[in-house]
């Protein structure tokens, strides 16, 4: 039996959660909501993180376009995703929600523009 302690990152409450793995049966306590339970199980089996960064931007007074992943991606792929995004440059104008990189590194997760650029 293994026991793990987590601090939930889903919302500002930052609940302290305890996960127990009893031969593959996962039990979670300390969470306030359902998403906490989900977070703890994920964190134990395949931790995931959101990606927020910028990509290069041409044709605007701003040099960078902020982007965000539609969903969390596996934590172990975070650095590689970043690397790919650092090499990405897009042209203005951009609409919030435009897909900047589709299915990044085969994760099934799209990277989208986090704001519109009209200038």
């Amino acid at each position: 039996m293994t026991t793990k302690q987590y601090v939930c990152i889903v919302c500002p409450m930052s609940c302290s959660i305890e996960l127990t793995d009893d031969s593959g049966v996962l039990t979670v306590k300390g969470n306030t909501c359902k998403r906490g339970e989900e977070y703890a199980k994920n964190e134990y089996t395949d931790p995931k993180r959101m990606i927020t960064t910028t990509v290069g931007l041409r044709g605007s007074r701003l040099r960078c376009l902020p982007v965000i992943s539609r969903k969390a991606v596996p934590k172990k792929l975070l650095r590689d995703c970043m690397k790919q995004l650092y090499a990405t440059v897009v042209d203005a104008p951009v609409r919030q929600g435009d897909v900047i990189v589709a299915n990044i590194l085969g994760t099934g997760v799209d990277i989208i523009a986090a704001r519109s650029i009209t200038l």
Partner: protein, 415 residues
Amino acid sequence: MNTLSYDIAVIGGGPAGLAAAVKARELGMDRILLVERDYELGGILQQCIHDGFGLLRFKKQLSGCQYAQKFIDLVAEGGIDVLCDTMVLELTDDRRIYAVSAQEGLLEIRAQAVILAMGCRERTRSQVSIMGSRPAGVLTAGSVQRYINMEGYLPGKKAVILGSGDIGLIMARRMTLEGIEVEGVYEVMSSLGGLRRNKVQCLDDYGISLHLSTTVTKIHGNKRVEAVTVALVGSDGKPVRETERVIPCDLLVLSVGLIPENELSRKAGVQLHPVTRGPVVDDTMMTSIPGVFAAGNVVAVFDLVDYVSRSGEIAAQGAVDFIRRQSARGNMVDTVAGSNVGFVLPQRVNADCGGKEINLYLRVRKPMKDVRAEIVCNGKILKSTRYGVANPPEMIALRFVPDGPLDGPLTVDVR
């Protein structure tokens, strides 16, 4: 000089001002003006590219710019007049605004109601008494955020961060991802300044160390930062000389708190509160000057943008009611920061508010576990809410609807 006339003029196009303008339009106001000093709307949210915004309002994890975009789109759809690149120089106590812009020259803006939404500024090294020299490479966290996220430049190679508030933690992760070595985060208090989830995803994920009860005492280097001295602080809050050590670095990032920007308010004669350093407001967010309202971080530093937007909407409702003379300002009662409470917003509430929802925001002085936040009026408990933990960095929002008139001050205790 151009003279403009509006029903409502909002000073500041950040989250509070955006929400106020959008809400005023929703309430049927025709002539609304939003004045912003930067060349675009959104305020500091535009440089907050990290997620975690809007969970209460949109039930989603948005980045700061996504959150701003939602309101910016609503401002455009609502046909609200916007003046960007426009700096307000003066506000008079009869609600005239003097502003300048390159396109319009000097503007006199008259409004039936004014909403102050200027936000806040960052505290600097002198407010935390860091000694030593004055080289390049000492920047506030917000400045670093702007340089990296908007200008696309890195302001150092190896950074020390002072302050473990959310901005400090977020920037630790951001700098690491951009290839700046973050030596550590130092916090003068004995507990984390920001949310614990941010320690997990910004420090722990990247192996960045957090040093509590430790502060930066000295900056070395004449041209560019060469090192900083850090020291443990004693129980008196003062650095202990014997524990000093020198850390080589070329960047010191200060995340040491925010101050509401109230120079305009002060000059207009708006009464300011000594603890929040923002205007004293009532439950409609009206300041001591009739028809002048305030919303967001200009009132007090909120920790969630959702609260900021909410305060903008309350101010908009207040301004609309003020213009329509719907709210005869009756008797007011004060709110009182009681046991373990640093401050309560608003500072005044209409006594005849029976049946109307009241939003109170407060901060505790010290961390406590298993507490109750209680609103007490004349010995009667009007509302009592349980909290597992109450931390100073996390603002507590209390909503309640009194069933009748209030016959005395509202005291809020957390015990």
